[in-house]
């Protein structure tokens, strides 16, 4: 960190953010004690995924886009499948939707466990990181590792391996596990359910700075159950729209200080992620999860980003319960996929990545080649609200010493569990011919 007098102002700068996925920093400038400018600098280089997809076959996005992220590949695979199946006029049967949900639960469990215990809890308990924390709080770290391992096991079982699953295809899966194979995970998941309940109780005891986000929240809402793998976008303003219309409301623009696009909702800053999902879908949670949330001091909505760690705990519990439910209802002998024939058209898909809603849009030609692709990941959508939170945090706690203020601001970023690698895939090449 540097904190230097400059032009009568002060600059609080963190060159490289720790405990986030990818490479980013932040810069906050003060003048006369007032925050003048705030920047979340995402300098991880652009990755050009949308350009790679052009000219490829409609069958390839689940494998190509899975490589965008090692933490949330299933979010990409699933949104791509919905979009392309929609264009091709295919609706996968209920047992394949359930299989997708089970795979996705694995991703939620491993991602939330990693963020809660290895990345976020050290903020609240006052450690540099999980390794330093482990000596004093081994039980918390062990609980996180067990939960993460449970999520990885589901990923490996349903997706073929724990990172970058290879078993997903347009129309379903290459192979479905048997009931016997799935049943082997039940003891692990029953332990995970206990761990998740203990995790919620533990994180609810942390001290949470007061902050209330005023921005609209956007999340998917499913017909049945809490939205994970699919749903329809809903906003706390009352707005709702079909996934296919997302580009009419969500627009992306480039800011000079970031290699990730900034997204706005009808021109405004908005938030996707656990707080949005929880606030818009509390009624869809199971009674156990609702009770655990209430016991942890949450109401039916939550707008304090520092409390997102409790909401992640509730979602983690829900994902474990859902996994057990889906495994309990599993029937052997069903087709692993349905045929999907190419068709010309344009369509979109969306799913709830652990860190928020992700949208994909594709244009296919009649032979199934991709003519255009657009991917709007959660961290791009949250970039503007992260900066707004930073502005509020920096102003609110301006009297803290440098170290404490920097830490508070970093924490405000980590509240979002940002995935910077995910956000930097855009292609914005401009040629100045003047």
């Amino acid at each position: 960190m540097t904190h230097t007098m400059k032009d009568g102002g002060q600059v609080l700068q963190v060159g490289m953010l720790a405990r986030v996925e990818g490479e980013g920093g932040m810069r906050i400038a003060f003048k006369d004690g007032v925050v003048e400018s705030v920047e979340l600098n995402i300098f991880e280089p652009p990755r050009f995924y949308e350009a790679f997809l052009r000219g490829r076959s409609y069958t390839e996005p689940p494998d190509i886009t899975a490589r965008i992220c090692g933490i949330c590949p299933v979010a990409y695979q699933t949104a791509a499948c919905w979009a392309i199946e929609g264009i091709c006029g295919v609706e996968v049967p209920a047992h394949l939707r359930a299989a997708r949900r089970l795979l996705y639960c694995g991703e939620w469990i491993e991602s939330h466990a990693l963020h809660m215990f290895l990345l976020h809890t050290p903020d609240f308990l006052g450690y540099e990181g999980a390794i330093e924390m482990a000596a004093d709080h081994p039980e918390a770290v062990e609980m996180g590792l067990r939960l993460k391992k449970a999520g990885n096991e589901i990923m490996a079982m349903m997706g073929g391996r724990a990172i970058h699953p290879v078993n997903v295809r347009i129309g379903g899966f290459y192979r479905l596990p048997t009931r016997t194979e799935l049943q082997k995970m039940v003891p692990t998941l029953e332990q995970a359910r206990e761990d998740a309940l203990a995790a919620i109780r533990l994180v609810s005891t942390f001290d949470f700075p007061e902050m209330t986000q005023p921005y609209p929240y956007l999340a998917l809402r499913a017909e049945h159950g809490y939205a994970i793998e699919s749903g329809t976008p809903v906003v706390t303003t009352g707005l709702t729209f079909p996934v296919n219309d997302f580009t009419e409301h969500i627009t992306e623009h480039h800011e000079a200080h970031s290699n990730a696009l900034h997204a706005t909702l009808d021109g405004e800053t908005y938030v996707v992620g656990p707080l949005a999902r929880y606030t818009l879908n509390f009624d869809q949670l199971s009674p156990t999860c609702q009770a655990a949330a209430r016991e942890a001091g949450l109401g039916e909505t939550c707008r304090n980003p520092f409390r997102s760690i409790i909401v992640r705990g509730v979602e983690l519990l829900y994902a474990v319960e859902e996994s057990l439910r889906i495994i309990g209802e599993w029937v052997d002998g069903q087709v692993p996929s349905v045929p999907v024939l190419p068709r010309a058209g344009e369509g979109a898909g969306a799913s709830e990545a652990p860190r928020g809603t992700i949208f994909h849009r594709y244009v296919l030609d009649a032979g199934g080649l991709i003519e255009d692709a657009q991917i709007v990941p959660p961290t791009s959508q949250n970039q503007s609200s992260i900066e707004s939170d930073l502005r509020v945090a920096a102003q609110e706690w301006v009297d803290l010493d440098d170290h404490a203020l920097t830490h508070r601001c970093e924490q405000a970023i980590r509240n979002y569990d940002p995935c910077i690698s995910c956000a930097t895939h855009f292609l914005d090449l401009r040629v100045d011919r003047s």
Binding site: L114, P138, V141, L145, K149, R161, I163, V166
Partner: protein
């Protein structure tokens, strides 16, 4: 003695696949038990190093096979024992960073130490990588090193079994 052989790395990331390739090759040859029965030897192919503290707990001796970048010629095999003042320690800190959030083997060791979950003995069989491009197969130099790495692991295990003393550094 309970021995755990861990092939660490991503199977679709060029030479990072060397850990899993070596163990599959060893298993195809009948495993280390082909050299004689006895110990409890488990084989584990692992992509995510975060799982290591839980996975290797309880094993008396863990041998990790992974791609390394030390500046040596591609395909060079480095065997290092993890010790308090071992020069090998420097290698550990730069290993397995293909894991998410830069959590690699070095972090797994540090976390396991803090949790009291370190195996009694930890040995690295590192194969110098040439290329870790996603989607690429093993580079020729590393593919050539696979049988040598398999032989080296067999040798390490048999030396341990006959009590031949320390592993060559």
């Amino acid at each position: 003695m309970s021995i755990l052989l861990v092939g660490l790395g991503h199977p679709d990331r060029g030479d990072d696949a060397v850990g899993s390739t070596v163990l599959r090759s060893l298993a195809a040859e009948g495993g280390v038990d082909a050299d004689g029965p006895g110990d409890d030897v488990r084989i584990l192919v692992l992509v995510d190093p975060v799982d290591l503290p839980l996975r290797w707990a309880g094993a008396e001796w863990v041998v990790v096979i992974d791609a390394v970048l030390t500046g040596a010629a591609p395909g060079t095999i480095t065997v290092a024992e993890l010790g308090e003042s071992d020069p090998g320690e420097q290698i550990w800190s730069r290993l397995g960073l293909g894991g998410s959030h830069a959590f690699g083997l070095g972090e797994a060791v540090a976390l396991s130490r803090a949790l009291g979950r370190m195996p009694q003995r930890l040995t690295l069989v590192g194969v110098e990588a040439a290329d870790v491009t996603a989607g690429a197969g093993l580079s020729p130099a590393v593919a050539e090193a696979v049988p040598r790495a398999v032989a080296r692991i067999r040798d390490l295990v048999s030396r341990e079994r006959i009590g031949a003393g320390d592993v060559p550094r």
